[in-house]
């Protein structure tokens, strides 16, 4: 394939993917009642307004609480699940593997509604805590897969070798298994955090009276335009993107040092 054509195509795809995100940034840089681009006066007024609102903080805190809990629980359960997925050969493994990926291939809003009925049947009032459980139904399978990818490249003979050299079970886990698993755990955790942080379809139905950032944005976007909405969208998005880049860079660095 001609080089030029390839660069053109890939540039076009990237431009299209980022255009809407860029549009939100551009729209946030004015403080007018109506959207009139190009702005006559550019300003960061929307951001100062945003920072002075208590609501901004509350929204971020709810999203953060949910995402952190989802990350923690998903990585712990996902690590165990991945051992069964990729490390051990056991009867029923292929059924287990397909059952684990099933929730990924399920429409999320429908899952959210089903969970809402489930909570109501059990008499549990929905709140940010039930949203954690809901997010995990979709995110835990993904984390399990991500950690499994790392585990497939693992040679279990290392564990036997360590045991033959007199290592205890705990030492084998700490010195052999976990260090190999670490990059998988970190990328799994990163996936969990970012997917939970940005999730809309599950949150809508399962947070009850609490509101996460994407939910708030969705309700505001569908009803009325205001620069503050753009500003909050930019802040929330960049917070997560920066976190993602930092973790990935850290992962690169630690791998470079180890290798």
């Amino acid at each position: 394939m001609p080089r030029l054509l390839r660069s053109l195509w890939l540039t076009l795809i990237l431009a299209l993917l980022y255009m809407p995100i860029l549009s939100v940034v551009l729209a946030s840089l004015a403080n007018t009642r109506y959207m009139r681009f190009p702005h006559r006066t550019w300003s960061v007024g929307a951001y100062t307004d945003t920072f002075s609102q208590q609501e901004t903080l509350t929204l971020h805190l709810v999203s953060l609480k949910v995402a952190l809990c989802v990350t923690l629980f998903s990585v712990i359960l996902g690590a165990l699940g991945a051992m069964a997925f990729a490390r051990y050969d056991w009867r029923g493994r292929s059924i287990y593997q397909k059952a684990v990926v099933l929730p990924i291939f399920f429409p999320q809003p429908v899952l959210g509604l089903a969970l809402l009925m489930f909570y109501s049947a059990l008499g549990i009032p929905p709140s940010w805590k039930t949203a954690i459980f809901a997010h995990m139904v979709w995110i835990l399978p993904i984390v399990t897969l991500v950690i499994s990818i790392r585990l497939f490249g693992y040679d279990p003979a290392q564990e036997d070798a360590a045991r033959d050299l007199g290592a205890s079970r705990w030492q084998v886990l700490r010195e052999v298994t976990l260090p190999h698993l670490a990059p998988g755990l970190i990328s799994g955790g990163l996936f969990a955090f970012l997917l939970s942080w940005s999730n809309l379809p599950l949150s809508i139905f399962t947070t009850g009276a609490d509101t996460t950032l994407p939910e708030w944005l969705f309700s505001r976007v569908a009803t009325n335009y205001a620069p503050v909405v753009s500003a909050i969208a930019v802040i929330g998005t960049f917070a997560s993107v920066i976190l993602g880049v930092l973790v990935l860079l850290g992962l690169r660095l630690s791998r470079a040092r180890a290798g």
């Binding site: 359960l77 051990y88 099933l102 509604l113 489930f118 994407p214 969705f218 998005t237």
Partner: protein
Amino acid sequence: MSPGRTGYLFALPVALFLLAGFATPIGIVAWYSLMEPRTFALTAETTLTNYRAAFTEGYGPPFFWSITGAVATTLACALLAWPTAKMLHQLAGRGAAVLTGLIAVPIFVSESVRLFGMSLFLMPGGGILAGSLRALFDVNIGTVLNTKLGVFLGMVYVHFPFMLFPLLLGVALIPQDRRDAARDLGASRWQILREVELPLAMPGLIIGALLTFVLCVGANAEAAILGGQAISVVTRAIEQRFSYAQDWPMGAALTMLVVAVTALVVFPALARIDLNKLIRR
């Protein structure tokens, strides 16, 4: 302890969690769908009234649009992602890693933010596109916002990465020498694509298509943000049963129909794929 036993023990927590969080809710919805319309009790006689209503009371259009939209989006994403995946694969090395990372980032930007951005971009008059064109070239353009086309573009935009990444895995399964051999034997480009590349990349293509289709069948944010009143999708119809109409059994029956559509597509496709082979690489 035998490896078989250990594997079983490790599988237990995730299996139990998904039993409680995935299988049970679907079971409850299935049970709800058999209750009398507009009731909230779970202990009454079962009835098929809701399913009968689902087929006779005008729920056809939302189902039609959701499924048509999902098929169209899957096709469009596959057509766009195939050349992209091949190019990224050919590129290899550092540049490809950076590019792939850049393409992945939007997945982690909330749907509401991306669709909001798209509506700002497409907005008539003072939108980013229309405003820029007027200021720069003095051209006035219309908008696809609040039309079916707008919703379709939004669906393609949101779901493109879900097609691309499985396809990248799939394209990586094609050995270059296989392609060269076919070419040396005189195969045309079209023949190479059809006889060599597509069959070898099939697992990735199936997973990508499956993800895109399933996510699109349930998609409602695109229609809400970009579609105005132009289109009614099935998730919206279900949601209305739950909220305004307070008719949970009817909503549950519609939900089960979506579950059935999904299962009809997902089970046969998943049965054909060896997950180990695709991920192990």
